[in-house]
Symmetry: C2
Subunit: 418 residues, 2 copies
């Protein structure tokens, strides 16, 4: 099927999918999980072909991300079942308004309609996104990367069989098998077909979607996250938080990329930080963190001199930019200029500094005495996430099922005219 | 100032404006209203020049829209005071989440930041938009049409003096005085400067913004609104509603453009409709409504034969497309294919038909037994509106102050790491 045919079928499936009860949706999700698990061998075989095709061209990390095993397919099926267990995000009464003229206005959550996803990540995104879109009453049109196309075809084929077995139109979940740039462009500009576009992947993919999309598009992802260690910080907490935010999973968007240290305590804190992130890790046989220091920090400890770019870089690696700032106002000023608006934290025992930071930093998630790594749908209690929005329109921060719905107003009257 | 300089100043003013208390904002709004009223003569003089410049080229309706009088300026000032009276949309706690690990997550409303508006309507939009943006903690960058540029300069000059007198940065409200296409294009693509773009005006303006914007943009406006008269309709209510929705103000987006009539009652209802919209209006010396009839309707009453296009046209005039459909499912099917998702209504005394219609029609506002003319921020009880969104992302239907804010999560911990 051409991308256009897929989109046409998706629009056609929209009303039926939107009208499904929570029970029907959950039955279908169970069937989707069942078929996925049943096709495990087939999926892993297809995946092996994908891996073979790129194995000489990409890094071991990339190979690992691409690779599926029976265990991983099992985990994908389990994720679908977990999505089924979440409350139905559709049909919630968000607000009820009674007007003096007798009109009763109800603001009620509804699906977007057709949700398009362009992504380049692991094949498990395919089943995750399909489950989340379906649970929120949306039809989804998925366009994964070329490197995972055989895996994605096998996965979507299983999911669609699950839908059919549950008596639901299989067009509720569709895969664009053409992985050219043109097919991506077609989704971005499919006005009247695509109600919401969610790109997931690297900076270039996101940029391309934001710049070229004429359909509503959510900007996700890039996180240049800061931890500011205030003069009133508990050093133990500060070290734990910076360490966790930097090293627990450096490749993710909620990992810290920059540590700002209050000038008042730089002399005392920086040596502790260097020991914790470099020496201690080295002794423990772990990758040490490379510290890229601004002028003032390098007067206190050794490290790589930071270039100006280092403060605008999402390293996604064991690298941390370090800068000495003048108190909370200096931290806020730096963050305003360099943050991507994802997650930023202050470590302080001073309630006033915490308050200034929390109200002045305009990021999706602003932390006081906690790691930026918590910016995640699961950690926020949403039970899942489709991505993390770094823009302010519609959704900000982790996007769960609720953020995958829109709303409408239903107004009941008795003949009112204006 | 160039558009770029204006945008730079706007970004700089953002934190200070976002941090203003409700009291400070209200004081400033009072000063803005005061200065506007004080400058009434100056504004009307500038407006006369605007009117002189176009008076031979445009319709009397356009001239009337453009013209300001001391009374109209007074009304603009009063509107600003009314906005001041509304509750502060910033700083609302939308949700509080306590996590098992002790994290306290607060979802709190925040301003967008820099709000750009491109519009071509009456000069009162300038002061209305400025007041709404300011009350919601946003800096606004306004770009009105060329035809009103002298009026807009005079209005914004008064508003900025008001801000200064209240001790607020006048850059909170800025006017782009370059009214070329290029300045509009610059706003649409000002990534990193403009946090939200709201176009207001004709179809072409909106289309151009949606297609060219790389900044988050709200699609507003076009309304092809339907009234479906069901077999179980109370005819008196139906006639009142269709009449009101079509004739009370034909030039607005929530006016009805199409009446769908259930085949079961077409024989009885259509003659009443023709009498009400044509004969009665003619006898009363009012403009009769031209009925454009589909094949089945023209078997019952006289009228202009409808072309296919008539069912996809926003007439904004005393013209109504009329079609006979087979029950509520026929109505829903037609609306799905032809509605712009603005406002659609059913007239019926049958609860089941009402329910089917309300749940199946996916428009911003779905009415049961009331006129589509109620789709309006004031009528919904929002106290104001900046526009009516016809898309599903972020805001749908009338956008009040609440819809002019985003949110952020503030997470407080005690050293939590993940």
């Amino acid at each position: 099927m051409t991308t256009h045919e897929i989109l046409t079928a998706a629009v056609k499936a929209k009303p039926a999918v939107a009208a499904l009860s929570n029970e029907r949706k959950n039955e279908a999700l169970a069937k989707m999980a069942e078929c996925l698990a049943a096709d495990s061998e087939k999926i892993c075989l297809a995946n092996r072909e994908d891996v073979e095709a790129v194995k000489d061209a990409v890094s071991p990390v990339m190979i690992d991300r691409l690779t599926l095993t029976p265990e991983r397919v099992r985990a994908m099926a389990d994720s679908i079942l977990q999505v089924a267990d979440l409350p139905d995000p559709v049909g919630r009464v968000i607000e009820s308004i009674s007007r003096p003229n007798g009109l009763k206005i109800t603001k009620v959550s509804v699906p977007f309609g057709v949700l398009a996803m362009i992504y380049e990540s692991r094949p498990n995104v395919t089943s995750d996104a399909a489950a989340l879109a379906f649970k929120s009453g949306n039809v989804c049109v998925l366009r994964g990367g070329k490197e995972a196309i055989r895996s994605n075809i096998a996965i979507v084929s299983a999911l669609r069989r699950g839908l059919s077995e549950a008596g639901v139109l299989p067009d509720a979940v569709a895969l664009v098998t053409n992985t050219s740039r043109e097919s991506a462009r077609e989704l971005m500009t499919a006005s009247g077909y695509v109600d919401l576009l969610i790109p997931r992947g690297g900076k270039n993919l996101i940029r391309s979607c934001v710049e070229n999309a004429t359909v509503p598009c959510i900007e996700t992802g890039t996180g240049i996250c800061h931890i500011y260690v205030d003069r009133a910080a508990d050093f133990e907490k500060a070290l734990n938080i910076v360490d966790n935010a930097k090293t627990s999973r450096p490749s993710v968007c909620n990992a810290a990329e920059c540590c700002l240290v209050d000038a008042e305590i730089a002399d005392r804190f920086l040596p502790l930080l260097a020991r914790r992130l470099r020496d201690d890790r080295m002794s423990a046989g772990k990758t040490p963190v490379e510290l890229r220091l601004d002028g003032r920090a390098s007067e206190v400890i050794d490290g790589t001199p930071a270039s100006a770019e280092d403060f605008d870089t999402e390293f996604l690696d064991y690298i941390l930019a370090v800068k000495v700032v003048d108190g909370v106002s200096g931290a806020v000023e730096h963050i305003r200029a360099h943050s991507t608006g994802h997650s930023d934290a202050i470590v302080t025992e001073d309630a006033e500094s915490a308050e200034i930071f929390a109200s002045s930093v305009d990021s999706a998630a602003v932390y006081v005495n906690a790691s930026t790594r918590f910016t995640d749908g699961g950690e926020f209690g949403f039970g899942c996430e489709i991505g993390i929005s770094t823009q302010k329109m519609h959704a900000r921060g982790p996007m769960g099922l609720k953020e995958m719905t829109s709303y409408k107003y239903v107004i009941k009257g008795d003949g009112q005219i204006r």
